[in-house]
């Protein structure tokens, strides 16, 4: 982190230097303007100054984005190296690993060594694997004897839909519950939501899945307990309970974060000013409180997406959905390592990408924040 901070502080220092240069130029400008004709001209100088400043801020954003992207690419590279070299750190030789514990004749072993290029030096193997990955060739599944990429793309839509539904639930319920709590802190609604969110935060997603299956599919029979359905609406119907189970923990977390962020904002002076001017409370909450609290909530949302992706392993297994998460689980059980490698890399990539997006949206939500100085919630 220290490198990042150092780099971005350098960037901001250069930005402020250029800004001060601009402002000194325009102050000369405005001084002459004031001397000649007065207030109208000086206001024009102010607006031109702010235009210059926003242009330099825009180039700053691009520079920051590029630097951050390079940094995250390095993280990704290191992660890919760890994931690849893991096979070599494991006990036993890679070819026995690739056989998945079955015994084989020496000829078959030699064939496997040749097929997977195991006789090459380690860096050569890593480079080959990495370039193949970059070209979309994720290797061949040992379990299915089929390209990993095809197996993954076949399972991707269901998982994406599940994560999408859960993300919508988290955003709507989490922010909604936090908002309701912040409307009257300490009130009945706040107290009830406090208890509910506390239970939600203490409940792992597979426990939530069991509870939902018991209540809504065994007792009430409203929803199916297994399978993912076909067609959009049938799929949405089948995925309702899984999405609920997946989102429960994050709904609780986001509700608490939203409430805390909004309460922190509510105690500030500008809110008191807005209220004293007679602005209706709901507009105060929407424009003056929520807008300012949005930065922290966005940071939390980034964490949420990553958490949702990882938890699909549990929820898809609990509901017998054939998605990426369940695929990871079943591949680990049979030691189908090319699949495990590919999915792990996929999850780490999502993590890195989401982090990049959050880093970039943060200054958009709150322009006061210096780029790269996002506070960790």
């Amino acid at each position: 982190m220290s490198d990042v901070d150092g780099a971005s502080s350098v960037a901001s220092a250069s930005a402020s230097a250029s800004a001060s240069a601009v402002s000194s130029a325009s102050s000369v400008d405005s001084a002459s303007a004031v001397a000649s004709s007065g207030a109208v001209a000086s206001s024009g100088a102010v607006s031109s100054r702010s235009a210059v400043r926003s242009a330099s801020a825009a180039s700053d954003v691009w520079r920051f984005a590029a630097r951050r992207a390079v940094e995250l690419a390095v993280t990704l590279l290191a992660a890919s190296f760890l994931i690849f070299s893991a096979v070599y750190l494991a006990p036993g030789r890679p070819e026995t690993f690739l056989l998945g514990g079955r015994s084989a004749t020496p000829q078959a072993l030699a064939a496997i060594r040749a097929h997977y290029h195991l006789n090459d030096p380690f860096p050569v193997q890593y480079w080959r694997w990495l370039t193949q990955m970059a070209h979309g060739d994720f290797g061949t599944s040992i379990q299915y004897r089929a390209p990993v990429l095809h197996l993954l793309t076949a399972r991707l839509p269901g998982t994406l839909m599940l994560i999408g539904m859960a993300a919508v639930l988290v955003a709507v319920l989490g922010i909604g519950a936090g908002w309701l709590s912040a409307r009257r802190p300490g009130g009945v609604v706040d107290q009830v939501l406090l208890v509910l969110t506390s239970v939600a935060v203490g409940t792992p997603s597979f426990v939530a899945a069991i509870a939902l299956i018991w209540v809504f599919s065994v007792r009430l029979g409203w929803f199916p307990s297994i399978g993912s359905g076909s067609g959009f609406f049938d799929m949405a119907y089948h995925l309702t309970l899984p999405a609920l189970a997946l989102s429960l923990y994050w709904v609780g977390t986001l509700a608490r974060v939203t409430r805390a962020a909004m309460l922190a904002e509510l105690s500030k002076e500008h809110v008191a000013v807005a209220r004293s001017r007679g602005i209706p409370e709901r507009i105060v909450l929407r424009r003056h409180v929520f807008r300012n609290a949005a930065g922290g909530i966005a940071t939390m949302s980034g964490l949420t997406i990553t958490g949702l992706v990882v938890s699909t392993v549990l929820v898809e297994s609990a509901f017998g959905l054939g998605g990426i998460g369940a695929f990871l689980d079943s591949s680990v059980s049979v030691k189908d390592f090319p699949v495990v490698q590919a999915i792990s890399l996929l999850i780490v990539t999502v993590f890195v990408a989401v982090n990049l997006v959050v880093d970039l949206t943060y200054p958009l939500l709150d322009p006061r924040v210096r780029l790269g100085a996002r506070n960790s919630a």
Partner: protein, 289 residues
């Protein structure tokens, strides 16, 4: 710098701890009870947790099986009681290893600074890209099921959280005069760090570790639920949920719901205790600085 903000915590428990001390006492009592049950488990369990009484399979509570039996006729209560051992031992091991490693890494990075700091901070950042559960699944796929691989993986995954905290605290602490005084007196870095620095930042770190305990419990139970954690015959709450799921679909939910409740209540109890402790420690720290 306020230490309160440094401790990574579950937002959900923040509001619970301040206003309601009775909740802390209930949770502390419950946590203590779980520990006692885990210690005395073999003597408390009414039946052999692996003995299957097929006549009792898929039946509700009875005199012989107070909480009923699962699909293979194993006594739920006995499995629950013996399962508390793995449920507590696993997270405890994770917390011990991640705290030791995290303190070592964090203090070294904060105290030495320079290239060591950048190397250690960079590797912590890399570790943060692997969510704990994913790392555990990777380790299990490499080293096979059992408790060792998940515990090693989770210890590694939780280390960055401890090390970041320890590094921050060390940076703040090394500005203080008493450490400068030791340096002037010619004490070695090792002595200053081990005898004086670590005891002083210890309470805050232990509070973070208590909070981590709940996370580790959830992650380990999740792995066992997936069948990647404990070996098949060991009674474990996560594995019980998995076994109980089919019984639940046949209308006999007790063997799945009971371990679920045990997990949730234990996690909540340990977190409330951890939050309370973090709060008290942080308050003291705030008052001092």
């Amino acid at each position: 710098m306020s230490t309160l903000t440094l401790v990574r915590r579950r937002p959900g428990f923040r509001a619970l701890r301040v206003s309601r001390p009775w909740l802390f006492y209930i949770c502390a009592g419950f946590a203590a009870m779980i520990v006692v049950v885990a210690l005395l488990a073999p003597w408390l369990a009414p039946a052999d947790p692996n003995a299957s009484d097929l006549s009792a399979a898929l039946t509700g509570p009875s005199a012989a099986h107070l909480l009923g039996a699962d699909g293979s006729g194993r006594d739920t209560l006995s499995r629950l009681i013996l399962g508390s051992r793995t449920a507590l031992l696993g997270p405890a091991a994770v917390v011990v290893f991640s705290t030791t490693l995290g303190v070592a890494v964090g203090v070294a990075a904060g105290w030495r600074g320079g290239w060591l700091d950048s190397v250690l901070s960079r590797s912590s950042e890399l570790m943060l890209a692997f969510p704990g559960l994913l790392l555990a699944i990777l380790f299990v796929s490499l080293y096979g099921t059992g408790l060792v691989a998940p515990i090693a993986a989770l210890s590694l995954a939780y280390t960055p959280y401890v090390s970041r905290l320890a590094r921050g605290l060390t940076l703040a602490e090394r500005q203080r005069p008493y450490l400068a005084a030791y340096r002037v007196q010619g004490f070695s870095n090792w002595t200053i760090c081990v005898r004086h620095l670590i005891p002083n930042i210890g309470p805050v770190i232990l509070a973070q570790s208590t909070v981590n305990f709940g996370y580790a419990l959830i992650d380990l139970a999740a792995l066992s639920y997936l069948g990647l954690g404990v070996p098949p015959l060991t009674p474990d709450w996560g594995a019980m949920v998995n076994d109980g799921q089919s019984a639940m679909l046949q209308g006999q939910p007790l063997s799945a719901i009971v371990p679920c409740l045990a997990i949730v209540v234990t996690v909540v109890a340990f977190n409330v205790v951890g939050e309370h402790w973090a709060d008290r420690v942080a308050n003291r720290e705030d008052a001092r600085s």
